[in-house]
């Protein structure tokens, strides 16, 4: 897929500037190639979006083509946490903990309306987190309720693009906004 075919290229350029690719080297290129082509997701799904995530892994859409099929049940071995589904107050600490327990570099994909903003449960709900970025920093947002498997694949490609703007030693500039999480 060509560069122009993606959306949100502006933010990507921003990453390229702030992501510190001042010292962008061949080593970085190789490492980023490795990292971006081997994003192992954590087995984590809370609700309906999880089913579409499963469908993305199945034969029709075949996640594995991207080398992502290795779903790891343990956060220690996962690279990306695809937040597929609603996150509620009770789950938020768990999610945070799982995220914390992942080794660097780690990425987060917010899949579905719930994960992005609370979606259908934004208004009038007393127990739903209004967007996972209140809990953990998010790299890519995939809207949809649920997003089609292709949309997930597209999101993963966006993530790959983002990974390729990083440097080896300092994969993530954690913005301060994300630093304190109030489990809400």
């Amino acid at each position: 897929m060509k560069y122009e075919d993606f959306n949100d290229n502006e933010t990507l350029e921003l990453f390229k500037q702030t992501g510190g690719n001042l010292f962008f080297t061949t080593v970085d290129a190789i490492v980023n190639w490795g990292r971006s082509n081997s994003v192992w997701p954590l087995t984590f799904a809370t609700a309906c979006c999880g089913i579409e995530m499963m469908a993305a892994g199945a034969s029709r859409h075949d996640f594995a083509r991207f080398g992502i099929e290795v779903y790891r049940a343990s956060p220690r071995q996962a690279d990306v946490i695809v937040v597929a589904g609603t996150i509620v107050n009770k789950m938020a600490p768990v999610l945070k903990r799982l995220y914390d327990q992942m080794p660097e570099p780690k990425y987060v994909i917010a899949m579905g309306a719930c994960a992005i903003s609370g979606g259908p449960f934004y208004y009038n709900s007393y127990h739903v987190i209004k967007g996972v970025e209140n809990v953990i920093p998010v790299d890519v947002y995939i809207p949809g309720c649920p997003p089609r498997p292709e949309a997930l694949l597209y999101g993963v490609m966006q993530l790959q693009r983002k990974i390729q703007t990083e440097t080896m030693r300092n994969p993530r500039k954690q913005p301060d906004v994300f630093a304190d999480t109030d489990n809400k």
Binding site: K90, Y123, N124, Y126, H127, K130
Partner: protein
């Protein structure tokens, strides 16, 4: 048995029960102190044998906290609705029916969790969904407020 016959049958067993013909099913209004007794009767009477508790709902009615039981008999295929209002508005309590229909165990915990009706003699009266330690209040009550809710 259709609703008519069922009504008569129940009257013949216990004439004190207040039976109302509801929209779909017979509705039995019982006083909270009679709950266990009536429930046991409904379950054990061979002609009624309401052995399957379909659904247990807690309500925050304007005048009282109430619980609605939908009962079915797998043998005779008839359904009744049992309704009971908790006596006390501040500290509503009712007797448990989890010893009669085990499934009530979870349902009653749910009612306790969301409406705040306590069930006496329940084996494990704790919150089921919300966090036991942190959560204050019973969200399904009409007067429940919470800063997190964005009202539309």
């Amino acid at each position: 048995m259709n609703n008519e016959q069922l009504k008569e049958k129940i009257y013949s067993i216990d004439s004190t029960i207040n039976i109302v013909e509801g929209k779909q099913y017979l509705e039995l209004n019982v006083a909270p102190e009679d709950l266990s007794k009536t429930a046991l009767m409904l379950k054990n009477n061979p002609d009624l044998s309401f052995d399957y508790l379909i659904c247990l709902t807690g309500n925050d009615l304007p005048d009282a906290y109430a619980v609605v039981y939908h009962l079915e008999s797998t043998k005779h295929n008839h359904v009744v609705v049992l309704k009971v209002k908790a006596a006390n508005r501040e500290n509503p309590t009712l007797d448990t029916v989890s010893n009669i229909w085990i499934t009530a165990d979870f349902h009653e915990r749910e009612v306790y969790d969301l409406i705040g009706i306590t069930f006496n003699n329940h084996p494990d009266m704790r919150r089921i969904f919300l966090d036991e330690e942190d959560w204050v209040g019973y969200p399904l009550r009409k007067d429940y407020t919470d800063n997190n809710i964005v009202v539309r």
